[in-house]
């Protein structure tokens, strides 16, 4: 058979024909090639890093709330991080800089990105399009097993002499080019190597996702019947594919500057510091859309299902995803308005930045439209998804301030920016992750998460989160700069100490509340209420198979007859109508029966 024929035959041959020999434990749980297991692997490792990132933030907040005070329990940390005094250990500025850097780096690269892309990409894509697994299962395994050493290197960098990287997650040159400027030597290099390896892990994941979505869709799964979660992951994968290589090049050039004396970004030998910023942000802006698009996709799934109503404007939602992906390439300069680049570029980037607000606004209005005249069920996933919408509105609107170049002069590098980024990354991405985990938990583990405990976790998290991050808008407007170890050095910022303390106390409460989620998560894996195939009465393909699905997913290849959001359809007696349910006899809006697709020459079907 030809190569193409082999692909088709194996796709047709989904699931049921697999050899049922037992695979060894190590191949099933450790070096797994099944996308569902790899998804879980990404989930467990990333949730661990989320906790680490939160702990780093807690330490930062202690210093900000109680500047120069001894930190309880910090005596166990080495002298390089905390200066021992008779009253206890006080944080050193160099450690504060490392905390700032590593909190951002770990949260973005080792928590949010692998949760959204590694967990949900792996879990949902094959199931939602009707495939038995990814196009390249062994490449998928490689992707996970490259991410793990990358994470270990990042953690190890805390233990080396000079400590972990301390130039910010943005690692601007020339600060980052030499330990002479930061006091960090090996730690900065480990940071670069770790991210290069992680980048390669993400890249091969993206190749897998793109090939799978294009080539492995079940019969009838046309592009405009793909659920928005998969659509968002597809666009995200394209962004990863094209942006990560730019980061890789920049990281390697910076590594050479640090180690062998090249001068890419070093002005002392004629290099260009702004070149680093251009390269970094050319990657960095698509990166932030990588961090939000899958969250938007998850929100659309949960919102439509729990409101029992079709997504308002499905086609526009897809076009908005694509537009955000496309426009995201031409706005990078808005991170560099004050950088010293030509001011004329400031205006052009401002225009493109204002334009990119539009597709995000379209999506927000469409989510509201989905809720209009709906039948809303306030389950835990829905609470988190609604939170995404309401918090993303705030994060998006705050972005308008910094898009305006003159206003950005005042608020750039202040806590206004910190507020904005946390509203989109926590208020947005993390709430969507909570929504996704609670929604697809039954599919992964065959059990439901505990609903009352989930509601308590949600309410406390939502309240504490807003009390922590909303006041940061005001801190920024009062002029408080970012990455400042001790703001009380500035007379004009001393009155902000009470507000900083307020934020710190609620940050501790916010971090502590997450214990409830951890308890719920692990308890439910073992003791949660057993879930059937389709506990949410959803339409998409993953809910037509058992929870958890068997190896190969579908006993026989599914056929798709309609779009994914046919809730409350007159064609159905229920308030949902799965994509794979054959249509009734006679005419109807979703005649759905696919026309025979032309089979490639020579294929035997």
């Amino acid at each position: 058979m030809s190569t193409t024929e082999k692909d088709i035959a194996s796709a047709v041959d989904a699931g049921g024909q697999h050899d049922h020999h037992e695979i060894p434990w190590i191949r099933k749980y450790v070096f797994a090639t099944d996308h569902k297991m790899i998804a879980k692997q990404f989930m467990f490792v990333s949730l661990f890093f989320l906790v680490v990132g939160g702990a780093l933030a807690g330490m930062m907040r202690f210093q900000l709330g109680f500047p120069g005070q001894p930190m309880p329990g910090a005596g166990i940390l080495p002298d390089a991080m905390m200066a021992p005094t008779p009253n206890g250990a006080i944080m050193l500025p160099e450690f504060y800089n490392s905390l700032v850097t590593m909190h951002g780096t770990i949260m973005i690269f080792f928590a949010i990105m692998p949760l959204l892309v590694g967990l949900f990409g792996n879990l949902l894509i094959p199931l939602q399009i009707g495939a038995e697994d990814m196009a390249f299962p062994r490449l998928n395994m490689a992707s996970f097993w490259l991410a793990v050493p990358a994470g270990m290197l990042m953690l190890a960098s805390f233990a080396v002499e000079g400590g972990a990287a301390g130039a910010g997650w943005t690692s601007y040159a020339p600060l980052s080019t030499s330990g002479e400027w930061t006091g960090v030597y090996l730690g900065q290099q480990l940071w670069l190597v770790s991210l290069t390896i992680l980048g390669f892990s993400s890249l091969i994941g993206a190749v897998n996702y793109i090939t799978t979505v294009i080539n492995l869709r079940a019969p009838g799964m046309t592009w405009f019947r793909i659920p928005l979660a998969t659509w968002s992951l597809f666009v995200t994968a394209v962004l990863i594919l094209l942006a990560i290589p730019i980061l890789a090049g920049a990281l390697l050039m910076l590594l050479f500057d640090q180690t062998i004396g090249t001068g890419f970004f070093r002005p002392d030998v004629g290099g260009e510091p702004l070149l680093w910023q251009h390269l970094f942000w050319f990657f960095g802006h698509p990166e932030v859309y990588i961090l939000i698009l899958p969250a938007m996709g998850i929100t659309s799934e949960v919102l439509s299902n729990r409101a029992r109503k079709p997504i308002f404007g499905y086609h526009s939602m897809v076009l908005a995803l694509i537009s955000i992906g496309f426009l995201g390439w031409i706005v990078w300069g808005h991170h560099m308005f004050q950088s010293g680049m030509n001011p004329l570029l400031g205006t052009s980037f401002m225009i493109s930045t204002m334009a990119i607000a539009v597709p995000s606004a379209i999506k927000t209005f469409n989510w509201l439209g989905t809720l209009w005249k709906a039948d809303i069920h306030f389950d835990v996933p829905m609470l988190h998804a609604l939170s995404f919408v309401s918090m993303f509105i705030i994060g998006g609107l705050s972005g308008i301030f910094m898009a305006s170049t003159p206003v950005d002069i005042y608020i750039h590098d202040t806590y206004f920016i910190v507020a904005h980024l946390h509203y989109v990354l926590f208020g947005g991405s993390l709430f969507a992750i909570f929504a996704g985990i609670t929604y697809w938990f039954p599919k992964m583990f065959g059990r439901m998460m505990n609903e009352p405990l989930g509601k308590v976790h949600f309410v406390l998290t939502f309240i504490f989160y807003n009390l922590v991050f909303f006041p940061m808008h005001n801190l920024g407007l009062q002029g408080m700069m970012r990455r400042i170890y001790d703001f009380t050095q500035y007379d004009f910022l001393q009155p902000l100490q009470p507000m900083n303390q307020f934020i710190t106390l609620f940050a501790f409460a916010l971090i502590t509340t997450q214990v409830l989620f951890v308890i719920n998560f692990f308890w439910s894996i073992f003791k949660g209420e057993t879930a059937g195939n389709n506990p949410w009465n959803s339409n998409t393909l993953e809910w037509t198979v058992p929870s958890p699905p068997p190896h190969g997913n579908f006993a026989q290849m599914p056929t798709v007859f309609r779009g994914p959001y046919e809730y409350s359809s007159p064609e159905s007696d229920d308030d949902f109508l799965p994509q794979t349910t054959p249509p009734r006899e006679g005419p109807g809006p979703s005649s759905g029966v696919p026309a025979p697709t032309p089979t490639p020459e020579g294929a035997e079907v």
Binding site: W181, P273, I362, L368
Partner: protein, 228 residues
Amino acid sequence: MTWSDWSWVLPDAFSTFSDDVDMIYYVILWVTGIIFVITEGVLIYFLVRYRHKEGRKATYDHGSSKLEIVWTTATLVVCLALGIVSKGVWDTMKIDVPEGAMEIIVTAQQFEWHVTYPGPDGALGTADDFEVLNQIHAAVDEPVWIHLRATDVLHSLFLPEMRVKQDAVPGKDIPVWFEATATGEYTIGCAELCGIGHTTMNGTLTIHTAADFQAWATAQAQRPRPRP
């Protein structure tokens, strides 16, 4: 905490362009504030009005292209208008340095600001230039043109009460200007992470009356210099 800490009102500013900057901020605040109230209000209303009730099914509706065109166009118009309003002020602040401004050099380094004045001959780069540390002095109602430089890493000159911020880049000479409208003592800060001592790069911007500034400059110029 005082009420003003939580306020959306910006702290006072005292430069010729600060009113324009602040005005754009307030316009954006009003626009986004109204959008915020409407969208969150609609959201809460829908959640209450359309919560699940026995016997009521959701409306089977896929959306409205007409409505989408309307709100997409409205969003685009509002965003572009805000951009257009902003452009003029940006050009004024970053490009249009006024004629006859007093030129000084501010050189940022880890972890201090070196400020070089032209001295009595009024020209920079001559023998009578003098340098002060972590202070900028200027006369009220007189424009100042700062040549912003850095010796080692990126820093950022932040004069909050003048609404000035500009990154200092080693190897570059970047123009920064302002004209203060009130005498007083103001803040100099560093707004770009520059290393371990980033937090200590504070300084004082002193705006004098014209006479007082002359007196200060003369006294500084006459300070004994270190022998070469």
